[in-house]
Symmetry: D2
Subunit: 343 residues, 4 copies
């Protein structure tokens, strides 16, 4: 079958890979319908590595995916051929202490799509465990289905910091994850979302998504703006999605006493944090890694109309132009948020 293969940094091509074959017990075979491009895909494309994960063999990219069930393996009774589905892209071992404790996202044996040496979903077919394959309601498109993945990050983040109705939420960086964080904050009852970015087009978009205020971080300070907008009280919740080294400290400074800050964006390390400033207001920092046990909730939020992810899609490419899509993703227009590849 055809797949989008990263042979080495910068060397990306559509080529042939072995068909995954029929689904084994507990698995389903899925005809891929759409795949969103994530920053990590582009990073692998450009650099060939993220931290300890190095592309040493040709790698199929893509982990934000939706499609149609083609056949089901033995013992699968939750899905049937023809079901439209979104796939949670990480498969944990299911047996270790972390899996048993409900933290399977931290499983040391996690196999995650498009993370070397595990192939991703930018291919005609994938075989995936039924337990990590979720039926999509009719009113959710494949493209929206791929966005369940970044939305899941935001839902998990919201659960970790426990956004409560009435909270003021500050979001630093409103790329795809930051936008999803804003949407989840609003769906969780945040009375006011204050977002910052350095791209004017992103600031416009986040306001259209419901943010009360959008701060241009090139000319203004998110923490100053939060303090001014809250009468000096600060934000109950901060969500760092920019990956910029000053992001954590900015959100500590923007936090209300007892505030909680989630660190989602990854960037250059280490970062400098004034822990004494954090202490004087007893601000807590929650680091976030992917998501766990929220994929169905994310789908339900979209299905129930609480969260609208469609506006996050800005660019579309058919699969045969997937290389072009990645080339574009390296230097997109400022208004680009999520690039979609349809199969």
């Amino acid at each position: 079958m055809k797949a989008l293969i990263l042979n080495s940094p910068g060397d990306l091509a559509i080529g042939e890979v072995p068909d995954p074959g029929p689904p084994g017990p507990g698995d389903v075979r899925i005809r891929v319908g759409a795949v969103g491009i994530c920053g990590s895909d582009v990073h692998f494309f450009e650099r060939g590595r993220i931290g300890d994960f190095v592309v040493r063999e040709p790698l199929v990219l893509g982990h934000e995916a939706a499609g149609t069930v083609e056949s089901v393996g033995a013992g699968v009774d939750t899905l049937t051929p023809g079901d439209r589905v979104a796939m949670e892209p990480g498969i944990p071992c299911g047996r270790c202490d972390l899996c048993r404790a409900g933290r399977y996202h931290l499983c040391p044996e996690m196999r995650f799509w498009a993370t070397p040496p595990v192939h991703g979903a930018l291919a005609e077919y994938v075989v995936h465990p039924a337990g990590f394959t979720y039926r999509l309601p009719d009113d959710i498109s494949f493209e929206e289905g791929t966005l369940i993945e970044p939305l899941a990050v935001a839902v998990h983040t919201g659960n970790l910091v426990a956004i409560a109705p009435g909270d003021v939420v500050a979001v630093n960086g409103v790329g795809p994850i930051g936008c999803n964080a804003c949407l989840v904050a609003l769906a969780s009852g945040a009375s006011r979302v204050i977002a910052a970015d350095v791209v004017p087009e992103r600031l416009e978009r986040v306001v259209s998504l419901g943010a009360a205020s959008a701060i241009d971080a090139r000319s203004g300070s998110l923490s100053d703006a939060v303090m001014e907008l809250t009468g000096g009280r600060g934000a109950d919740i901060g969500i760092e999605c920019s990956g910029h080294p000053t992001g954590p400290q900015t959100l500590i400074r923007a936090a209300a006493p007892g505030g909680r800050v989630a660190l989602v964006g990854m960037g250059p390390q280490p970062v400098e944090i004034d822990t004494v400033e954090a202490m004087t207001r007893e601000v807590a920092l929650f680091t976030v890694f992917r998501y766990v046990n929220v994929y169905q909730a994310a789908i339900d939020l979209v299905a129930g109309g609480r969260v609208r992810v469609a506006p996050l899609i800005t660019d579309r490419y058919p699969f045969d132009r997937a290389v072009e899509a990645f080339e574009y993703a390296r230097a997109p227009r400022p208004e680009t948020l999520k690039i979609m590849i349809t199969l």
Copy 2:
């Protein structure tokens, strides 16, 4: 000044009471603008008592109130004359262990409006601590401002049971508190709210407020409906607002494994609970008493458009017809939800 005075059970009249005078230090004097009638007001009117609280002296009724600041006492710098405000109707001691621990609603010295011997707010003026008086944004009317009180019950309930985005929420009984519970559940990201009542008009209304399903409890079972609608999984959250003795057990039966049930409605006691059934799915029961530390959040939810309380107001009376309003409240039309008295 004029006030609505309950002299004895069934004997209610507008009469003269001493003007509260100028505000003392930390207090504000408020011209009352609107007062909502609560079930407890009607209960005192009819029976003259609720539990240990007995009307032994003439009592001014009303505790859901909003109005305009007329003057402020020494040391008050958060409010100024002319401010439109909603008032949190209970004043705790501020010094006991419970107050210090952030649970002032359980303060044994709580003085709560319209709870004998503390007079309520159905009067021309009240003097109230500035700390329990909250400025209303311009776009919240006095009538909506009175609804902050029952909304606060629902917000507090949601905090206790920690509604998470994507949760299925079952609400038993959709009078004013139950409707607010539905609104808060939706504002908290509930993917589906399933409500039950015995009054068809209430079922219609709760659907118009956003509930996905409304069950007529005269002919159907909320727990059966929840199980059917969730494919046998059950509700993550149950909120009992009917006060009916079978309510707790109904919601235990409707609960998913690990589900949490809030008991808000008060009714005949004791109730029968099958604790073994609860154990087998480890359902937890949270009892709810009024609210604490959520008044501002409730206002912000309305101000930010997350919750619309105006549709809950079904009947309006001017203050000089307040007795008539209470007579009506004893046997209202089925579509009546919240009766408002405007001053």
Copy 3:
């Protein structure tokens, strides 16, 4: 091999059952060293059923067990032959939503020892998943190892109600589970444990285990005693282990404002609860079902000396007198707490 087989209610005998054979992949084969008798074993012996679980075929009893690893199956690298181990007696599916969410004890496909139709551990050998088999340090005997099981119930209970250092804890009923609850409360920093029972010998024992006060429930009231001993404040935590229908209400009455009550003991249903009394102090009720993710913690508590379970063992029988042990368990001396069968 030999096993203790319940053929029908009251008909118990040592007999031959098929040897479980060599361990399959991921499993270990264990020579059973000791098995404690639990109330549920005696209940099956006498009545032949607990709720929906009915003994329809001969059933091997016993689920509190420790022993020695004899051989390990393919892929097992955490245990080796000769390891002394305690076994967590329930095996969940590992794939359902509840298993994935860290609540495997509520897995609908749970296979739990000595719960029809799943055979228990009162046999010469068992084969068990390595993941649910825990190495015992040298200083924990097999007999103590079997007590990890009821201790796990208490640890899980403590986690659910979140006992904090300095808490006052009231325990109703101090049989084996209640004694373990006292031990866990003390190990969790409870400043005072107040226990009640109707058996004087149990009251003496619980004091020797560290309880500050022991109330004879035949002549006194636990809630009265708690209020007197705490100056009217009440208990932060209540743990119901008696199964008596009045237990929940007794602990609600004994609870401080904001108190949390765990319901562990199972008894006649339904129970009557005054939910309005609970509401006025916002008491929460947590129901408890077995345990999850705490077996290793329970072992560590014993190994580190925080909890001493050995004093709970009051009676010992060799395996060939196991029937006699069960006969004795039907009407034991009052000082009997835990009866141990050694193989």
Copy 4:
């Protein structure tokens, strides 16, 4: 009356200050019995400032204090003359949002002893609110009573990170706060406490207090030691009490997946943190500021024997040698932990 007065950095003397006079309403007058020297006292002595708090006027030092009630003001019914007491040294406003929410330690109007311009307790008498004055049981000495203050920091820390029975706890830095953190961890059921310091005498002491392992940080790494001792799993809880800039990162590295790290010690800022390393195991950081709502719990822990603080006292001076005590505190013997001044 006599008091220990800091006139300017390095200029400390016993002198006369105005007697605080009789207690006002709600207050009690206390004859001070003992005062412990805290690092912050020594810091003010040496530098004359901590952050924004600058000694501009003569300041009475000391905030860890116990004594005897001499007289009580109007309305005080919880204490009587002759009561032996420990005093919580910070007085919040009691009215702001933070006070009402149970976070009075973050009150912006907090008046805290020996923090300019608020005088401390190294004087013959203090007048203090009865609500922040706690009766000591007969078996707790004044000296132990002063240690309730640093113990309260540790209890609050334990509550923030929610130590659960069976947890492995790593403590970095075992001065007075670190030792108390170890004691609280053990009292909370920690199965193993692994501590590090650079002072051999402190390592010896912490082992005598119950720590399972003590790591000399000059020659070894706490994170390496934790990983080795836990078979690569890591610590459930980390508590940073050294104030060293590498402390937070050391504890992140020592943390198990999902671990929680408390930052208690204050030191040079900013600190460098590898947030990506924290993310990959989803480690959370809780910053700690003093304590709130735990003074009684801390007393109860000592009274009930769960925590023994007496071994932390290493040096004693009578009040007339208080200056000498402070001089000693600038360069103490390595085995010095807590220096006590008795009046």
